[in-house]
Symmetry: D2
Subunit: 108 residues, 4 copies
Amino acid sequence: MDSLEILKQEIDQFNKERDWDQFHSPANLAKSISIEANELLECFQWDEEHYDINEVKEELADVFNYCIQMSNKLNFDIKEIIEWKLAITAKKYPVEKAKGKSTKYNKL
Amino acid sequence: MDSLEILKQEIDQFNKERDWDQFHSPANLAKSISIEANELLECFQWDEEHYDINEVKEELADVFNYCIQMSNKLNFDIKEIIEWKLAITAKKYPVEKAKGKSTKYNKL
Amino acid sequence: MDSLEILKQEIDQFNKERDWDQFHSPANLAKSISIEANELLECFQWDEEHYDINEVKEELADVFNYCIQMSNKLNFDIKEIIEWKLAITAKKYPVEKAKGKSTKYNKL
Amino acid sequence: MDSLEILKQEIDQFNKERDWDQFHSPANLAKSISIEANELLECFQWDEEHYDINEVKEELADVFNYCIQMSNKLNFDIKEIIEWKLAITAKKYPVEKAKGKSTKYNKL
């Protein structure tokens, strides 16, 4: 089976066992993604070069987990939405204009 | 091919074409994940029930995209780290104690 | 009059005129603080040395604004809570242990 | 003395004693503001009505603290930048258009 499908099912199962689905409104999941993203950011708070790789792994996994939960909740096909948004971003940042620059599209 | 593998390659290709890899240090990616997570949160800022599903889709896709980039950068196997962290969380929140509760593990 | 008192009143007045108080639950203000904090973070997303000082000013002001709103909402005395928390932090990070180190207190 | 001036000095003193100024680049402070903002958000993660008022107080104080540090670092006059931004926001959200609505200015 495809790995995204497996993860989707494992995470669903995890929450079902704990009866946690009741807490997982889209808004609560959005807050959770931001909260976990900032635990990840904390790994790089004062020193961006020397970080604890295991903490990074844990926190990044938590962000992924909540993102998958939100996708489940809203019936998003993860691969589809990422590719769809990549196409939008490609139009905002055409190779010939954006190459080698970190400038935001509205200032390109 | 597995969908996570496809996404990994598509996103790598996207950045290579734009020569953006130079900006994508783990710390910059961590900031980016938090920034995109908060654009997602903005969809639910004043009203948690009525949100623009397309905006949610776009912003969630951006969070996923940067998470995949960080995994590429640090050579994480996405499925592996999510399952590894899920096992850690399962120990912190055993079914019999956590069922039906949103309490944090240190207060369970 | 004290500047914090003036700011408190000006911001209250601003929201009253717009009838915005109805949206400003503590939870919505917490989301807003995080959202604005990340617009501030975006000023430093790809380049931490060269930032637009006016954008920094605008976004930092927005964070302050929502923090003052939350203090109003919950009847916090801003000076009091900052000094109270500073005393707590001082105990977690005694000068002799913390001097010159960015280590988190639980690893000191 | 004005309370903002007192806070500015107390926080400066706190950091000087610990020799922490070396870590407090504007970018690191921006990360810190976001990290603390999300510890504040965590108070409202699963339940927006029942929160621990002391935790809210602690986390909000931390956000304020780092915001004051950034103002010190960049020589911002806190009262001035908040009032300056309030005037900008007032133009984006004129009373007659924005009254009673949480709509973002670009959709008003």
